[in-house]
Amino acid sequence: MTGYVIRRILWIIPVLWAVATVTFFLMHAVEGGPFDREKELPEAVKANLAAKYNLDKPLVEQYGLFLWNMVEPITYDKVLGVGLGPGKLAGPKLDLGVSFENGRQVNTIISEGLTVSVQLGMTAFLYAVVVGMTLGVVAALNHNRFLDYLSVFFSTAGTAMPNFIIAVFLVVIFSVQLGWFDVLGWEFGNYRKMVLPIISLGTLPAAYIARITRASVLEVLGQDYIRTARAKGLQEWVVVLRHTIKNSMVPILTVMGPIFAFLVTGSFIVERVFAINGVGRHFVTAIGSRDYGVIMGTTIFFATVVAFANLIVDITYAWSDPRIRYK
């Protein structure tokens, strides 16, 4: 298993390089640049801005500079806040460059937004998993009865409604009209600022998980070993929890990886509707403003999270299904 994990991690490096390379050249191939404004800048200003951000250099040289800033070996005094002593650990610089809009370090921009996005994403993920799996299991255990129909209705509605519709509805009704929650912001621990963003962000994945869970549990409930477990006289909750749910997990875990990555990397829509300062909005606004530094940074960051989320899912397969072993 350890060898497998190391190999998978090493494979992530060429994947990220490929993502970075394709993004870099695609981004520069698109018409318009970071200094093409609604109100045009004089040529002298554009020339100085281009020089300031190295855009006056040949594209290949810019690409080389970007890669070098990423991989340039440096030593770290501390990692994740833990002091190691001067120059104890060597590693890549991982410098994603600067934003062409405000000159800030892209690493800083991402890390600032990431805290909020991870808080929001994790809680929305928790909501999605708890609500989705509960509805899915309840639906399967009550197949073709009222609770099943209710669950199917929820999952259909949740899948069909885009989160900006849900978010706007929730704001208008529960914030503006009823005054139960705030319109603005995110503050961990403050329910007035947490409930609506979590529901807005988590409802679609919850609905999706409910559908997958229902189908998977129904399939497992029809297996011989479930009939055997019941015939042995096991209590129903033991049959459900130990034998049914656990054995239904593989398809659920498969979708959880991308859902987790999607949620913790922020949502442009939900962050915009609730004016939350997460990392999600940078994905979209950077493209519109051709902020090359932020486009590269957010893309690489997203690819990294997806790659690691999928790795974790693959590892959890082995826990879920003892027949799966990695060599």
Binding site: V45, E101, F153, A157, G179, N277
Partner: protein, 576 residues
């Protein structure tokens, strides 16, 4: 009806709505933006802030705004940047409610040399930065040198083009050059005397000295003109010094900025608020909801919901002010068809800007036939109605004169727009009007904002909805570079010998009345000869303002950047 019943009603409505959407389950997510609806009557612009009267000592305001790009006044070009910078820094002069420069950090009006090229400015005694350090002439010189420094790439350097040596230094391809900086015409003669030398007399230079790109830089913190200015982050407030009425106390990128009164502010009006919070909100519909719930005291109105907002807040909180900007339909005059004045006049006169305004902008703008707004030295909106106003018969006559009677043989032109509901609405409106009134067809080409801007700069367009927002209140800002042949911003290639001759006469004319009269002549030529633009609408700001505030009002000259009265934030307060 009691409140709880209302709440239950909303809950029931919510459940019904969720059920209905669930049943529909059609997944329609392609467009949330609404077409603006026609608006009703609006309030007239108000007078200048009622300075300080009835303000309580203390209080807090939370104002919704869009986050700017940076804190460096010698680099900034974004309106939100400038809005914040005017709260925390102040220049030698400031514009009063009539757009006339008045001394701010200067002790008096500048003393000019005989040929009007050397400005000697005395700075008020005893000025201090917020951190207690002396604010001297050297700080003002440094501010100007920063804007002229090519390494800083200040986006508004071109406004200082008349300062001796500023263009030469800024245009130096090798970047900063100490020798070139040395000849830039700005010098601190002593602690309280600043001397600025112009290459040529510029009658509007005192106005320029009120703008952000001439704000002082704290030389005790950044001694060299190329020293980096702090980025807009949590550490920035402590790394800067301020000479405006407020100072930055916290900056949370993407979220908010907090201001507190500057204890060393030297202006006549003293700030009374304990704290101002600028809450960064990208989406105006979101800030409007936050205004409804009382989370913010001020918000810009979402133009797509203008009519609804006007009705909802008609008696309290809604304020319309003219904004010094003009938009219309820009036309590429190098295009073979559009080179013909009759064609341009036909397109101009076939456009009913009144109806377009109602259809696409909720009647939130002001139809006009003048390029330069009246508040900036231009003509009244209806001044040229008889020459370029909506008149189908006249439009058809012009098209016929151009050899395209009833639209026969007219090539299909393309209108280039950014992908937004309002732009789409305007393009479709033109398309329909031209087809109906002139029998011609145009294509609509939709691109994203950056592509549209790049195409405009490259002069790669035929028709282009666009315009201009003023940098400073003088007609020269509406004309120089924009309509003179070869002007750096003249992407529609307006080239008219009469306009060029008048520009030559006006540009350095020190007789102000004569200068303004010349610019008005140019304004008339631009609009009546449709020289690159078919003029249509003046812009306007629409604000939501908590009635329990003072000073968040605007004068008729439209000096706001993005917040009502942000040019004189020291007058803000809450009632006693």
């Amino acid at each position: 009806m009691s409140l709880p019943k209302i709440r239950w009603a909303y809950l029931i409505m919510a459940l019904i709505a969720v059920f209905a959407l669930g049943l529909a389950a059609c997944g329609d997510d392609d467009d949330v933006e609404e077409t603006p609806t026609p608006g009703g009557e609006t309030d007239a612009p108000t007078d200048a802030p009622d300075v300080g009267d009835g303000r309580a000592d203390g209080g807090e305001l939370t104002l919704a705004t869009i986050e700017g790009d940076g804190l460096d006044p010698h680099f900034s070009s974004f309106a939100s940047d400038i809005s914040l910078q005017r709260m925390i820094w102040r220049g030698l002069y400031t514009l009063d409610a009539d757009n006339v420069p008045q001394p701010a950090m200067a002790a008096a009006a500048p003393v000019l040399s005989e040929d009007d090229t050397v400005y000697t400015i005395t700075i008020r005694d005893g000025l201090l930065w917020s951190d207690g350090d002396d604010l001297t002439a050297e700080d003002f010189a440094l501010g100007i040198l920063r804007t002229c420094n090519p390494d800083n790439a200040g986006e508004y350097q071109y406004v200082l083009t008349s300062i001796l040596g500023c263009d030469d230094h800024y245009g130096n391809e090798a970047g900063f050059d100490a020798a070139l900086e040395g000849v830039v015409g700005v010098e601190a003669l002593d602690d309280t005397t600043l001397q600025i030398t112009l290459a040529q007399a510029q009658p509007t230079f005192s106005i320029i000295l009120s703008l952000w790109m001439t704000f002082p830089a704290p030389a005790h913190l950044f001694p060299n003109s190329g020293d980096p200015w702090p980025e807009p982050g949590p550490d920035a407030p402590g790394q800067l010094a301020y000479n405006g009425p407020y100072m930055l106390t916290a900056y949370n990128p993407g979220d908010s900025a907090e201001l507190a009164p500057n204890p060393n502010w030297s202006g006549d009006i003293q700030p009374t608020l304990d704290k101002i919070t600028l809450r960064f909100i990208d989406d105006e519909s979101v800030s409007n909801n936050a205004f409804r719930t009382g989370e913010v005291d001020f918000a810009n109105v979402d133009e797509a919901q203008l009519e609804t907002i006007q009705v909802e807040f008609e008696s309290t909180g809604y304020l319309l002010v003219l904004f010094p900007g003009t938009v219309g339909l820009e036309m590429q005059t190098t295009n073979e068809t559009l080179a013909d004045l009759d064609v341009r006049l036909a397109l101009q006169r076939a456009t009913d800007w009144d109806t377009l305004n109602a259809t696409c902008f909720g009647s939130g703008r002001v139809p006009t036939t003048s390029w330069v707004p009246q508040v900036s030295g231009g003509a009244a909106p209806d001044a040229y109605e008889d020459v370029i106003g909506f008149d189908v018969a006249a439009a058809q006559g012009h098209l016929s004169d151009a050899g395209f009677g009833d639209g026969a043989g007219f090539p299909t032109l393309s209108i280039l727009i950014r992908d937004s509901p309002a732009a789409n609405c305007q393009a479709e409106f033109h398309q329909q009007e031209f087809a109906e009134h002139l029998g011609i067809s145009i294509d609509i080409e939709v691109v994203d904002g950056a592509t549209r801007s790049a195409r405009f700069t490259a002069e790669d367009f035929e028709l282009f909805p666009g315009g201009w927002i003023q940098d400073y209140p003088d007609p020269e800002n509406w004309i120089l570079g924009l309509y003179d042949t070869g002007g750096s911003l003249n992407n529609y290639n307006c080239s008219d010998p009469d306009i060029d001759a008048l520009v030559d006469q006006a540009r350095f004319n020190t007789d102000n009345d004569a200068r303004l009269a010349l610019y008005e002549e140019i304004n008339e030529l631009i609009v009546t000869r449709v020289c690159g633009i078919g003029v249509g609408l003046h812009l306007a700001n629409h604000y939501l303002i908590n009635p329990d505030t003072i000073g968040l009002v605007e004068n008729a000259a439209g000096q706001d950047a993005v917040i009502a009265g942000d040019w004189i934030a020291e007058a803000w307060g809450i009632p006693e």
